[in-house]
Subunit: 491 residues, 2 copies
């Protein structure tokens, strides 16, 4: 009898974890598919309209985003307004024992998934990770409810439910970035206070299932990928940095720590302003749609590729921007002047010098990019649509790192040692910056692991760890994490 | 006042973690330095003796090991016999609240460090990891005692001590393999039941300090290394496996799961036999040195390079063996027949075909290697010297993986898809096998992360995770972990 119990337990336990992981992978790939298509259609529409007139182009550029954002706002508002925002603060609250029932219903799930697809598809500077943790937590809750109604014994009690929730969070991160190990660790750091080691293994299993199915599905959908590579595969050589550069990475960590704290402060200020300012309320809260329209207009006019958008690579989505940042070439070198492996291709440089054969300094465009998206991403988090904060922070961090890296590369054109074949790789700085800033804002160290899995390389382990520890220490000292800050505001 | 308290706390807390990490890195590099030299002298002495006569060669080969093992035995016996064995079971017991005081004294520390250097320097098939966790725990205890005697407030209470201990364990693994992230996770899985997330960060900091200092010191000592590379840096291309191979990796995981369970059973049988058999006791327990002499004679006659050692690459140390296993070339291809990038160099093949231009099949030598070291490593764990179990298991797993990988490569000579440029990399199988078997024996998933950090590559994340989950599931179901098994026996 004991043996049968054990088998029963194993099968149920394992199967449920696997089902959770695999179903979330399908969700994630399906949503990614639609988001990508929606974003592509935006660019296609814009290009068609460009042939007609400049005004039509701006109309198409703005109108498309406007339609999607408003659709998302209305859908979320009428189906389940609990889907608004990141969701990580709510999941964290539930995991601490306060049951927010309406946040984990089937209705919220649908609202969050559709709303997120629409809002991300519009190309606003928002992220997928936080909402996806919420989606996973909801799916986990539904699965455990389903089984507890079929079978009274399993998942009836509360501790089992909280285990399921922890697993779900891991799965959520895992299939956003296809980063199973980092996913498990990140979800522990973000949501848990104490952690039982025996759960660890279940979370790992579910996350691995999820990541495997996610990658296989992506191979299946994108016929070009023949092998199983990482999400943002990088191609740095093994000797991409030298011990002498470690202090510079530490400096980058310190900069990102202060920047992260500043981001959290501004986030709180903006959120409180939107919530409490009377004039603001009078103007924007009269109608549900006024505020989204205003914000969308702001974003699209800033990113409009023929205007200010030239300075901030406005026509690129976060995905493409990251690919540029993490590239192994140095942007400040002009192709043709000297052709080595570190010189970028012309079309990459066109993104960051103000269009084809533009001659704006990459330092100006990078600075504009950082400042603009710093503000835009914060404003967008106040929209009444599902939106995460991780990805924007990650991208801003990457830009900061790239900026510092290019400066260092100009200071030491022959590499830090002055020998011909030991050049500076600004791409490594971009990766380190991305990890450091997102680690600072979320108060997590495991972003390091996510970065390794996301880029498929681990050669820059030491720089990433150094920077992340410094940025974390500073930001932890100055401010609560961005999730805790949100929880405090909602009280 | 609160501010001053906080600063005080931060400085003390941070400084202590850093001091722990850095001092352990110095210990580790220092010990590695001596171990490497001791092992090199063994080979040098053997080569000198070979010029005299065969008998002298065997005498030198055996005598050198005998001297070191006996020195280690005697030193440990008279200074502190608590240093015998791995130490992980004891640390685990202490972390659960049972204070084994005599296991964490300065005397034990000296005994363990000197004993371990001698026993590893002799080249016996034993590991460094377990004892090093014990060393780190002892150093951590001493540091916290030192500070609590200077300053009554900090580290006086028990919970602070247990935090320090958890940090120390992470540092121990981190500076054995220079794997900070994997070290933190492995130490959590092996020693803890519940884990407070706020400790995590302290452990990370100490482990990162340790890994950084460890790598920098190694660069400083070995003038050849210019950049910061991993311990066993591998060089696989990004497309080193295909989704079609994933089931084979799962099979490897299943094989390793059963092999791991078998290893634990045999380990228990041998340990109990040594402990309880009357005849054995009469023969070997009469004198302290009889048993070490017998075991050493057994090991050296089996590994003697001109005898049976030909079949098991007896003249190689574990370090070199792993380098061979993890190489990106295929052993079964004879150099000269067709020269592509996957053909091994002649001198690598000489290790595994029975000496220069030998023609023994690599399948026979691999099988002999696995069986021989399976038994030898288990017998060596019963020696009264400090000795770990992780490294032997890791190597045996790598050999198993290499064996399966070479078989697959022969079955699919043109790669799994039959296209010219998609060949099988048996080295990837070796890495997966190593992770799967060591994960199974220790019941840990985080060995995966250690492997990524150890090899400096993360492209084979999915195969490693799949195999490790399968092997873990099987071994967890069949047997307790090798550490728990040891704890049970000692009761």
């Amino acid at each position: 009898r004991q043996c049968r119990n054990l088998a029963h337990f194993l099968v149920e336990d394992w199967c449920l974890s696997a089902v959770l992981g695999i179903s979330m992978a399908f969700c994630s790939v399906g949503m990614d598919y639609w988001i990508e298509h929606l974003q592509q259609w935006h660019v296609t529409l814009y290009k068609y309209a460009q042939d007609i007139s400049d005004h039509a182009a701006f109309g198409a550029w703005t109108g498309y985003v406007l339609v999607l954002v408003l659709a998302s706002t209305i859908f979320v508002h009428y189906v389940a307004p609990q889907a608004i925002g990141s969701g990580i603060p709510e999941v964290k609250t539930i995991m601490r024992g306060v049951m927010l029932k309406e946040y984990v219903t089937f209705r919220t799930l649908i609202s969050k998934m559709v709303g997120l697809t629409l809002s991300l598809g519009s190309g606003l500077p928002i992220g997928k990770e936080g909402p996806f943790i919420h989606v996973a937590a909801t799916v986990g809750t539904l699965i455990s409810k389903l089984t507890s109604s079929c079978n009274k014994g399993v998942y009836a009690n509360e501790s089992r439910y909280s285990e399921m929730l922890a697993t779900a969070c891991a799965v959520g991160v895992s299939c956003t970035f296809s980063a199973p190990v980092g996913g498990v660790l990140f979800s522990i750091e973000v949501t848990a206070v104490h952690f039982a080691v025996r759960n660890y293994w279940r979370a790992f299993f579910a996350a691995a299932c999820s990541a495997i199915v996610f990658r296989l599905l992506r191979i299946f959908l994108q016929q070009t990928d023949t092998a199983v590579v990482a999400f943002y595969q990088t191609n740095f050589p093994q000797e991409s940095f030298f011990p002498e550069e470690l202090p510079i990475f530490a400096l980058l960590g310190i900069i990102c720590g202060f920047l992260g704290a500043f981001y959290i402060i501004v986030h709180r200020k903006i959120s409180l302003f939107v919530k409490n300012n009377d004039l603001f309320k009078k103007i924007f809260k009269a109608n549900l749609l006024v505020y989204p329209v205003a914000v969308t207009m702001l974003v699209t006019s800033l990113t409009y590729p023929s205007g200010y958008g030239k300075l901030i690579a406005g026509h690129l989505k976060f995905r493409d921007v990251l690919q540029d940042f993490f590239g192994s070439c140095s942007w400040h070198k002009t192709p043709g002047s000297d052709s080595d492996s570190l010189t970028c291709k012309r079309d990459l440089l066109d993104h960051w010098t103000g269009g084809a054969n533009g001659d704006i300094s990459i330092f100006i465009t990078l600075l504009c990019f950082i400042v603009t998206f710093f503000l835009l991403s914060l404003i967008c988090t106040t929209l009444p649509v599902p939106c995460g904060i991780f990805m924007p922070v990650f991208v801003i961090g990457a830009a900061t790192g790239r900026l510092l890296g290019e400066s260092v590369a100009i200071l030491f054109p022959e590499g830090i040692r002055g020998i011909e074949d030991t050049q500076i790789y600004p791409g490594v700085y971009a990766i380190v910056g991305a990890a450091a800033l997102s680690g600072a804002c979320t108060h997590t160290v495991s972003v390091a692991v996510i970065v390794f899995e996301l880029t498929g390389q681990i050669t820059y382990m030491l720089p990433v760890l150094i920077a992340i520890l410094f940025s974390n220490a500073i930001c932890t000292y100055l401010q609560p994490s961005i999730y805790d800050s949100t929880i405090k505001m909602k009280r």
